[in-house]
């Protein structure tokens, strides 16, 4: 195998690993946050708007780790700096 092929293989495998491992933790975290928010809304329906807003912003923050992984894997697949 020449260098190009090795780089391509490594990039594709790493991209898959990045997105799969990188989405596990945010998924668990988002599920936890959502269930907690639902419990909170069930207990205090009057505060639903505050809880929902906080939940959205929090979810976006949790999700940003997954988005970083996605961006890295997209760069590896479609804009790889080591492939010319």
């Amino acid at each position: 195998m020449d260098t190009e092929t090795i780089i391509a293989v490594a990039s594709i495998v790493t991209a898959g690993l990045t997105i799969s491992i990188g989405s596990i933790a945010p998924a668990l975290g988002e599920g936890r946050a959502l269930s907690q928010a639902l419990t909170a809304i069930a207990q205090q329906p009057d505060e639903a708007s505050t809880i929902t807003r906080t939940l959205f912003v929090g979810l976006a923050m949790v999700e940003s780790t997954a988005i970083y992984c996605f961006v890295v894997s997209m760069i590896l697949l479609f804009a790889n700096p080591y492939v010319n």
Binding site: T50, T54, F56, V57, M61, V71, M74
Partner: protein
């Protein structure tokens, strides 16, 4: 490589050193549309009971933005409305217009989101200094102890990066997923993803502006919280205040 491009920064038209790409073109388009619509509506404002439809929409938008800023920032919104409101309107419009065929949202390019995040990065200290004075603001970086200075500075930088990459990643992923789906289920499924992309775009616009407001609020409000801590009031703080301050503390860490 395969027709999927993760950036809309490829030059569209070039004349000497002047390069026009789709990001610049559509950014200006969105700005023209927003300015034009506002100009058309605000040309004839009335205070009567019968208000035109356009003015009604504008009033709903502005009061909604003011209410949100007041709730998130816990302060009078007038000072922050121009900055945060502009961010929200621009992001919401450019994300919503992505359903128009041929329009590639300017937020799907890292250049745009990095520029907007830089605006937030500059605006937060400016609001903080304007509100609290330079010394009091800079002292905040030494807050728990002097050793936290590097962490505070890194935190400031990394949240700017996070703002930019979050928006870019979300918008870019919508485009890329639509393109990938088009190649094997070209019927109906991409439409669903587009509809989902509308929701994501709206939420991301909201989150970008709310986060900016939260950062501004945390830069302008620390002193007030210190005063509260120094003179503990006999009455219990309301649930709302506790939630907000906890949320603000959590958001500062990111």
């Amino acid at each position: 490589m395969t027709g999927i491009e993760i950036s809309s920064d490829a030059p569209l038209w070039q004349w000497g050193p002047v390069i026009l790409n789709r990001t610049i073109l559509f950014t200006w388009l969105v700005m023209v549309v927003l300015t034009g619509l506002s100009w058309l509506v605000t040309r004839r404002l009335t205070t009567g009971t019968q208000i035109p439809r356009g003015q009604n929409v504008m009033e709903v938008l502005v009061t909604g933005l003011r209410d949100q800023i007041r709730e998130v920032g816990d302060q009078e919104p007038q000072r922050y409305l121009p900055f945060v409101g502009t961010l929200f309107l621009f992001l919401a419009f450019s994300n919503l217009l992505s359903v128009v065929p041929g329009f590639s949202p300017p937020t799907g390019s890292l250049s745009t989101t990095a520029a907007l995040a830089t605006c937030a990065f500059v605006a937060v200290p400016m609001f903080g200094i304007a509100r609290r004075g330079p010394l009091s603001y800079l002292k905040q970086y030494l807050q728990p102890s002097v050793f936290m200075l590097p962490f505070n500075i890194v935190g400031e930088l990394s949240r700017t990066l996070a703002l930019a990459v979050r928006l870019y990643g979300n918008m870019m992923s919508g485009t890329v997923i639509a393109a990938i789906l088009l190649s094997f289920v070209p019927l109906l499924v991409p439409v669903l993803m587009q509809a989902f992309g509308l929701l994501t775009g709206m939420i991301q616009a909201y989150i970008f502006s709310v986060l900016t407001m939260v950062y501004i609020a945390s830069a302008t409000q620390v002193q007030q919280r210190q005063q509260e801590r120094e003179q503990p009031s006999s009455a219990e703080p309301s649930v709302n205040t506790v939630q907000k301050s906890a949320f603000r503390a959590a958001s500062k860490e990111t």
